[in-house]
Assembly symmetry: D2
Homo-oligomer: 82 residues x 4
């Protein structure tokens, strides 16, 4: 293992290359996500609402229900709903 | 103080409005920053490098020097510089 | 105006310093926002819901209404509500 | 294909589930990246500098060289280096 300026060069290079490969895979998947959204949009779906759905589905149903109720209370308090 | 659904409506509204005013001020300043960059660009300056300068000026000179040296060592280690 | 390496040094420095001052002001306001949220939290308000309220208040009431209805339709479609 | 509130429910659900699967894969890879950085840190490497190396390796060598030279010129102009 070559040593350069006090650090283990081969070891560092191996870490860097592992991260680069993983980042490439991640970018490829991000591209796939983008394509699915584009396809959904092409089928007439609203992708902004889809993103909300996906965020809400990650929550526990009870937590989601509680949050919706609290949001409703706050909206009434500041006069956003009658 | 009106009470709506168990929360103190006036108090909540006051907090919300204070935050909204502050966010407006912040957005105005962000707009000013953008304008200064645009003016600098119009005068031929490279705004990407300007951002680097601003980031580097926030660091202690010693820390910056150390970081530059370490970056140089790592670049040599992975074969980016001869 | 001094010239350094082909660029107008004083002019560049002036742009940099203007941006730094604006960024400081922006950071101070961001700190104020944080304090108001902390104060609201200390008064028993849910800051996550407050952020939702602030986001929703930026929208046109009609747009907000439409978005809520569409969200409800989508939630039913994917079986999130009965 | 069931229809709910004017949208094609099954089709929407299928898009949502495809995105959720991809997002899970992406999150798993992001977790792997984090682990490699943690392992590198455990071996004494500076992960902040590693991130800089990874960013710099994405650039064309000529572009990187040009940017470094311009940064040096700007640093001299604002008095950061003698």
């Amino acid at each position: 293992m070559a040593d350069s300026g006090g650090i283990a060069a081969d070891h560092l290079k191996s870490f860097i290359e592992r991260i680069e490969r993983l980042e490439e895979e991640k970018a490829a998947i991000a591209g796939d996500v983008k394509e699915v959204y584009a396809e959904a949009k092409g089928n007439g779906f609203d992708t902004k609402i889809m993103r909300q759905i996906i965020r809400l589905r990650k929550m526990e149903p009870n937590d989601r229900q509680e949050q919706e109720e609290l949001l409703d209370i706050y909206m009434r308090a500041v006069g956003m709903v009658a």
